[in-house]
């Protein structure tokens, strides 16, 4: 099977994630969109690893996974605490940090 198809799939997933991040108000959905973008990137990295016949891309994807896991821990905690205090998970409502 042609590895370039995987790249096309990764690009489609990344685009979905980007659009989702920008249009959805719900913090959890936006968060999932970010994860989708990260995983699309992972897919692209692994594909490049396959194309080039070495494991550099796979190593990079492990780093991404670890950073993503840490980010989820922190990010979910923030979202939960915002939800508790404001009774809302909308990112547009959490707009106090501004000029």
């Amino acid at each position: 099977m042609n590895p370039e198809n995987y790249l096309v799939l990764a690009a489609i997933l990344f685009a979905i994630g980007t659009v989702g991040f920008m249009v959805r108000r719900n913090a959890l959905i936006a968060f999932m969109s970010v994860e989708l973008m990260l995983n699309a990137t992972n897919l692209a990295l692994v594909t490049f690893s396959r194309i080039n016949g070495n494991i550099d891309g796979q190593i990079a994807s492990f780093f991404v996974m670890i950073v993503a896991a840490a980010e989820i821990v922190v990010g979910l905690a923030i979202i939960v605490s915002i939800f508790r205090t404001r009774r809302s998970a909308s990112v547009d409502d959490a707009n106090l940090l501004k000029f």
Partner: protein, 638 residues
């Protein structure tokens, strides 16, 4: 015009024996001043006695040195006493050394002698002042600084003393600093002296640049190498310095205000010693003035103008101390005039300086004694008929009076006569001015005498004049005796003594010269006219000052000295400063504050980007990422 007479060039010999102790004369009062200021209140009870012993000790050493010099041959009368090396860098070698010669030793005796008497007088005069110890410490500081000034062997060391006496003068004029007038007068004296100091500094810098040395002996030896222009400039710089210190026109305005200080200060600093430093400076700088007829003429003009202006001011003041201050200006004008004539006049300048030191200190202390008895009143319109109430003060004052107007055989008769004769030999107009000055001197001094000691009582209610205590009368008596005999004692001797040190013509003057020359008779005639006019005009003295004619009104305003200073210097400077301040506020501050304001204005605009909406941040990030990606891809393609 070149001076036919030569100025003496100093050729000092090394010090030996007693001369090595010369520094003690300065050290004793200096240490005493420091001690009294540092120990503080603990020495309140006896501080004034210690301070009085200090100048007496210096006087003793000075007297011993004087007799040593008197016994030495002429070639060995100029003694240099090294103290220590101050600056020794490469070709620069600045020594602190003292120069004891015929000129400086006379000054030492005047300063420490009159200084000691004034210290004694101050014990009585300042008795009820709670800051008496501090006053005496300042007096000691002055004595030390003045001795540095006259004993210096170079202009630089002289300058240390020069500034030291300026400081002491400032501290003592403003001694009663709770009085705004005294504080202002002190500041005025200090600032106007700084103007003169600029001249002193410029003169020293020029000498250093040309000779690498500012020692009197070196400069004297090399002065002939000055180009005429440089010599003229240095001469004018020195004249400026002398004008500041000696209250000569145009820097005269501070001296009249300086009378705000305690009266012993006026007697010591602003009559007998410090204000004569300018005369000393010019006489010491003789070799330079020899090279420059222009500067010498300027000195003569300044002296002549000042002797007339000072006398003019003296004629119309009602404040007894201000009359004496105007008189001091005038008499120093005589000295400066004599010093400007050149080697022919140096001896006369110093002679008059010494006699003036005696009789003017005498009269100032007498004025202090009167104030002491009249509850510190200085207005002569409130005096009158004090001759009987204060007999000693009256008698001693009268001796000073006869000395200053040049009554035959009194001190001023000899010293002033020489100057007038020399002025006539120098230039007819200058001579006539000096003669007129003598007449005005007789007029205003007679006016002072009549208003103070004769006529009806015009005392304020509740004033009971009484004679001052013995501790104040004793100095008056000593100074009165000196006012009488100093002229006779020194007239025949001082010329032969000073000529080897300052230059001039060896000549023995007789005691009766004044009666053999026509100018002598002329002077006595003018003086008599002045006395007669004053006696007839001031037969009765109104309590309120009459409006007076134009001349009197001008004199009461110090011949518009302050107005001229304001118009010529202060107001233009203030306008210029206003301009500069405006520029600083408007342009400099405007530029700095404009940068700040525009930065914060830009911030006001840019901070709108921080909207708080996460999704708009996301959009910005995506747009940025796309932009970077596009650039990378286009870069690959290109």
């Amino acid at each position: 015009m070149v001076n036919p007479l030569q100025t003496a060039i100093l050729e000092p010999v090394a010090a030996s024996g007693l001369f090595q102790m010369a520094w003690l004369m300065i050290a004793i009062p200096l240490v005493s001043a420091a001690f009294l200021l540092l120990v503080g209140k603990a020495s309140n009870a006896w501080g004034h006695l210690l301070a009085t012993l200090a100048p007496i000790a210096s006087f003793g050493i000075g007297l011993a040195l004087f007799f040593q010099l008197l016994g030495a041959s002429v070639a060995e009368r100029t003694v240099e006493v090294p103290v220590y090396e101050w600056i020794g860098v490469g070709p620069w070698d600045v020594q602190i050394a003292l120069l004891v010669d015929q000129l400086s030793i006379l000054f030492v005796l005047l300063i420490t002698g009159v200084g000691s008497l004034i210290h004694i007088y101050s014990i009585g005069y300042m008795e009820h002042d709670e800051r008496r110890r501090r006053f005496f410490a300042y007096l000691n500081l002055f004595i030390a600084a003045m001795l540095v000034l006259v004993l210096a062997n170079s202009y630089l060391v002289l300058f240390i003393g020069w500034e030291g006496v300026g400081l002491a003068s400032y501290l003592l004029i403003g001694f009663w600093q709770h009085r705004p007038a005294a504080a202002a007068a002190a500041k005025k004296a200090f600032v106007m002296n700084r103007v003169g100091d600029i001249g002193m500094a410029l003169a020293m810098i020029t000498m250093f640049a040309h000779f690498g040395s500012v020692e009197f002996a070196e400069v004297g030896k090399n002065a002939a190498q000055f180009s005429p222009l440089t010599a003229t400039l240095v001469g004018l710089f020195l004249l400026l310095a002398a004008c500041g210190k000696s209250a000569q026109v145009p820097l005269q305005a501070w001296l009249l205000d300086a009378m705000e200080g305690p009266t012993p200060v006026s007697a010591l600093i602003h009559a007998a010693t410090m204000v004569t430093a300018g005369v000393y400076l010019i006489v010491r700088s003789g070799p330079i003035f020899d090279q420059t007829p222009v500067a010498s003429t300027a000195v003569v003009v300044v002296g002549t103008v000042t002797l007339l202006v000072g006398a003019w001011i003296g004629t119309s003041k009602d404040d007894i101390k201000k009359v004496l201050a105007g008189s001091t200006m005038s008499q120093i004008g005589y000295m400066i005039l004599a010093a400007g004539i050149g080697p022919a006049g140096y001896v006369f300048a110093i002679f008059h300086l010494l006699t003036h030191g005696f009789f003017k200190a005498n009269m100032f202390l007498g004025a202090g004694s009167i104030m002491h008895g009249m509850d510190d009143d200085v207005n002569m319109r409130n005096f009158g008929a004090l001759g009987r109430a204060m007999r000693w003060t009256f008698l001693t004052f009268a001796m000073g009076y006869l000395a200053i107007i040049g009554f035959p055989f009194f001190a001023g008769f000899y010293s002033k006569d020489h100057i007038i004769v020399a002025a006539f030999e120098h230039n007819m107009i200058v001579g006539i001015c000096a003669l007129i000055g003598a007449g005005i001197t007789a007029y205003y001094m007679t006016r002072l005498m009549v208003m103070t000691f004769f006529g009806r009582k015009r005392w304020e209610h509740g004033v009971h004049p009484h004679e001052s205590p013995g501790v104040m009368v004793f100095p008056l008596v000593v100074l009165a005796i000196l006012s009488v005999v100093a002229g006779v004692a020194m007239n025949s001797w001082i010329n032969g003594w000073l000529v080897p040190a300052v230059g001039g013509e060896e000549h023995t003057y007789g005691l009766l010269d004044g009666f053999t020359e026509p100018i002598g008779w002329l002077t006595m005639g003018v003086v008599a006219i002045g006395v007669v006019i004053a006696v007839s005009v001031f037969k009765s003295v109104p309590k309120e000052a009459p409006r007076g004619n134009f001349l009197e009104r001008a004199a009461r305003r110090d011949v518009y000295g302050d107005d001229i200073n304001n118009a010529v210097v202060v107001n233009p400077l203030m306008a210029f400063i206003g301009l500069l301040t405006g520029f600083d506020r408007g342009k400099v501050d405007g530029a700095v504050e404009g940068i700040g304001a525009s930065t914060s204005g830009l911030g006001q605009v840019l901070r709108r980007l921080q909207s708080g909406y996460v999704r708009s941040y996301g959009l910005t990030m995506v747009a940025g990422a796309v932009l970077v990606g596009a650039v990378l891809i286009l870069g690959q393609l290109a």
